[in-house]
Symmetry: C2
Subunit: 309 residues, 2 copies
């Protein structure tokens, strides 16, 4: 979507329009990155595609493309690198679902990868998706690769998963600070990295990096608080994965620690924090179309809080 087109759209539709324009291109990019199902070893490539398609919201690649757009870069240039975020996210789901981890049978309304292909193949499919992510982000340059590696590794997402597992062993004893530590790593780090990678890959202005990071951090926190809320308030059919599983596992969550009302208030406050950064980001990036870009960031933040799945 060109900036001229975006500017003509009604204010409330900017992120929807952006998604309509870019989601099919994200699917195409992912499809082009993954080896065909008949390429040897076919079983592995089928398992990788089973995990990737049909996908979820593709939120992380969309965040990366939004970052490219609002920082004055070119989303088209960031498309392949943006796809790497979805590859990392999907690998983490495949490994998270394994019997030695969460042992889940349902994901996006379908059998999880190890249920469909066996544990060994699912393990290796996850490994291959993670590896492919770095192949996809490579051409975006060292900063993009470093950002993704830091966010996905032991100081980021994987560290958060370990913290999450450890917290399950002592239900009722996890503090809000500890929960925040886990969330910031398990979910927040990769969402924040999406904005960094998008800026780097799209050639956006470096001046916008720091406010975009803060925006990503607030958005990531809001997203995870809403995730905790949806786990309580939704059915498995609505989510396409097991619901009420946090409580069943005695997992620390925002609603569990603070109740639903306070959790919703926090999610709204985080979205407001993100929205307040939108003009800062656009001013730092400079250039034309500031209203359009600001609207895009505002709508994205609102969407993350208002979502139903």
């Amino acid at each position: 979507m060109t900036k001229a087109n975006a500017a003509q759209l009604p204010r409330a539709d900017r992120f929807t329009a952006f998604t309509t324009a870019w989601a099919p291109r994200i699917e195409s990019a992912l499809d082009a990155l993954l080896p065909r199902e008949d390429e040897a070893p076919a079983e592995l490539h089928r398992a990788m595609r089973h995990a990737m398609f049909p996908g979820g919201k593709r939120l992380r690649p969309l965040c990366a493309l939004v970052a490219a757009e609002v920082s004055g870069g070119d989303p088209a240039r960031a498309l392949v690198a943006a796809s790497s975020l979805e590859l990392v996210h999907t690998y983490s789901l495949v490994h998270d679902d394994l019997p030695c981890m969460d042992d889940d049978a349902l994901r996006r309304g379908r059998p999880t990868c190890h249920v469909a292909f066996g544990e060994a193949t699912a393990l290796l499919a996850g490994d291959a998706l993670l590896t492919l992510a770095f192949g996809a982000v490579a051409s975006a340059g060292p900063d993009a690769v470093s950002s993704l590696a830091l966010a996905a590794g032991s100081r980021g997402m994987v560290g958060g998963q370990v913290g999450d597992l450890a917290a399950e062993d002592r239900p009722g004893a996890v503090t809000l600070d500890e929960l925040q530590w886990i969330h910031d790593r398990k979910t927040g780090a990769l969402i924040t990295a999406s904005f960094e990678v998008g800026l780097f890959a799209g050639g956006g202005r470096r001046e916008a990096l720091e406010p975009l990071r803060r925006y990503g951090r607030a958005l990531g926190r809001a997203f995870q608080v809403v995730d905790d809320i949806l786990d309580v308030t939704s059915t498995a059919a609505e989510l396409g994965k097991a619901a009420q599983k946090d409580a069943a596992r005695g997992k620390a969550t925002y609603p569990g620690l603070l109740g639903l009302v306070e959790s919703r208030r926090i999610a709204e406050a985080l979205a407001t924090e993100a929205v307040a950064l939108a003009p800062v980001i656009c001013a730092a990036a400079g250039g034309a179309g500031v209203d359009s870009r600001r609207g895009l960031l505002e709508d994205l933040a609102q969407r993350c809080v208002a979502r139903k799945t």
Copy 2:
């Protein structure tokens, strides 16, 4: 080691001298890359360090540094990127040893990672090591990152592991061509990538890339044939891991398909093929110290075949 020093050494000692000079620096680089044991989440970082230290031969980083040296680049500049090869190799061992894969209890003479830390932590430690590898190779540039991703992914190492597992399901029916396909991916791809990454990261001459790749391919094949041979002829105490396990699993191997004598002949022929490429590589790289660099490549090839562990 400077080139002047290398030239003064007796001919047969070049790879030993190179290893003596560089192995401690590889250990230091790996130690600096891995988070401290007391950094949260401590359990994860302990598991990662358990898998990494004490290490094995560090063959892949050494190959990368040799590539930097013989292509006219600077091994010191390639040191961190070279370490990424060992991180990938180690992650693959951690995941390979898991119960759903080879289910091994012994590695490098110690309990495997999941025996010491549990399955979930071992799975995540492997994921974190793989991710860290890309953090380490990032600054070497897009070509190095792409090379590592291609070699480690579904078209390389992970693909080879899937092929290997599939071959276990039909013992006695695997052809030599199929075995070669598996070996080239499971072991060969990462060894070949070691040379590529080393040249890119060390700033070597691109003219040396293609012959170095061919050298790496021959060396990788020789290495795996010798691995198959050692599995038959060695004890677990000698190897620091389970021995005779290929036969116990009905796994296709060179000795199994061709016998020990013919397997040794093939390993020698592959080393000879690699040795013959040494002058081609050095001529392509140009510059001074050709004899020394040629000797280094020759000794490395001989060492891979003559090794006992």
